[in-house]
Symmetry: D2
Subunit: 162 residues, 4 copies
């Protein structure tokens, strides 16, 4: 059984709109990133939404929980904006059992030469293979349990609570 990747948007997939001079979402870069990474993992990618995580509603989170429950795979990676990543992790911990779910994201868009996006993707896809069932956040090289993580918005870093 392979790994399921759910795409929800976030900085990871933002692009530069050269006609309007602003950031926007188009398609996910996940397939391109996995190709450049020479990944040989058996993954299925599905885009659930393409939004800033600050705009993610309760209904959006219910959809993510439902998709994680409903899919056949027991190992799931979710790309997600960093601002409310911990909220979605909590919703998943309360709603999904018997699966290993790792959320990850980026501080810099992949289209802007993001180094953290590729590093985090490699990290999330590795932790999801190695860790027992549970919900985790893989950022900054660390893997945090869903109930022991907070984003330090001043530093743009994730930290454990205790």
């Amino acid at each position: 059984m392979g790994i399921r990747i759910f795409v929800t948007g976030g900085t990871f997939d933002k692009e530069y709109d050269e006609l309007r001079g602003r950031l926007f979402f188009k398609d996910t870069h996940l397939p391109e990133m996995l190709k450049l990474a020479r990944s040989r993992l058996d993954v299925s990618i599905r885009t659930l939404m393409m939004i800033d995580s600050l705009e993610m509603s309760d209904e959006d989170r219910e959809l993510i929980v439902h998709q994680c429950e409903a899919c056949d795979e027991t190992r799931i990676v979710i790309t997600h904006g960093t601002d409310t990543m911990a909220d979605t992790a909590a919703a998943l911990a309360n709603g999904v059992a018997g699966k290993t779910i790792v959320l990850t994201g980026a501080m810099v868009p992949y289209a802007f030469g993001s180094s953290d996006g590729l590093f985090n993707l490699g990290s999330a896809l590795s932790f999801v293979q190695a860790l027992p069932h549970g919900v985790y956040i893989a950022m900054n090289g660390h893997c945090f349990a869903w109930d022991n993580v907070v984003k330090n918005k001043a530093l743009g870093m994730f930290e454990s609570l205790w």
Copy 2:
């Protein structure tokens, strides 16, 4: 206790010599890569050698084994050329006990915009935190036990033996 990273060279760290038009080794890119990746891991980096793995001698491997035994850390990542990575992994499995050691590398130099180097580094640093004692190779998103891996030189990919 943090993670020890030993640098041995390989494609990972090759650079382009613009005066001579050829590839060469200068310094490792590991600190720069970890900075761009926004890694917050506690790592100590030490360069043991800067060579093509095809030129690695038995003495070189003995040095690597000795350094892995002697260091305080029990979690070690080694960047290494891909051609003889499996040989060094076997030497480590025979020579070092009670530690988790993950070897990784790249098919494209980091200085040439390598995507696999960053992805593999994120992968190796994650597997080394999550896996039990043993010697592994992290390439192409997979983590192989040292005695169940071979490089398919025609494809430039690592595969399990059985």
Copy 3:
């Protein structure tokens, strides 16, 4: 006598603010770009402002005209946002005589791997050396006289009027 480069901002020099997830101005990338380009030209770079050209006021344009008049150099390149580049060119044509002035810009920020910024910089610095006195816009490989150019905002391209 060398070439004077005046920096006024524009897409050229925009950066990504990873804490706030938006674009902003910090310092100009011109020195770094010229270094990577292996330029051996004798240039003096001065930042006059760092703004979106849509926010450029009449006073800002008067400052640019004054600086072009006052400097010793007779060959001047100005980096500028594309939206009102033609307006500034017209102000310069009316206010400065006896100099070759070339305005250029970019559709994608240099920090985002912009290829057009480097290409346009090479183009502007070449036209400014080769052309007689006058005010020009160097974009998309072409060099337009200041009174025969318009930005096609739907295409993000500059075109001649006749």
Copy 4:
């Protein structure tokens, strides 16, 4: 009438062979570079050869001279290895009349994130539009007459003779 671009190889178009770990030639990157540069110039690209300029023979140079004579365009850019660029320029000056020919190249391959390749391409395409008939070398931001240029191999820079 548009601009003719003749491709002869050189560092400009070198790629990294990830299976063999060495540099090689495949196809030219010129169309991709012009697209990313948002060039709107009317150009026709033709690959004459894909070689290191140190390996260029007298017959190769005769072919280049013949192609420059025979083509309809009077404005020609040639991408060329830097080591013998001045020799080919001299052959062209002796063999072709009534045309503006600009040779250019790069110190770093475009595929390795070369900044000088894009800058030099923008420069060469600009000088070829602006200069009178003659043979020139556009490198490092400068444009040298064919009989007043030498490559300083220790610095990797082009210099005028007097």
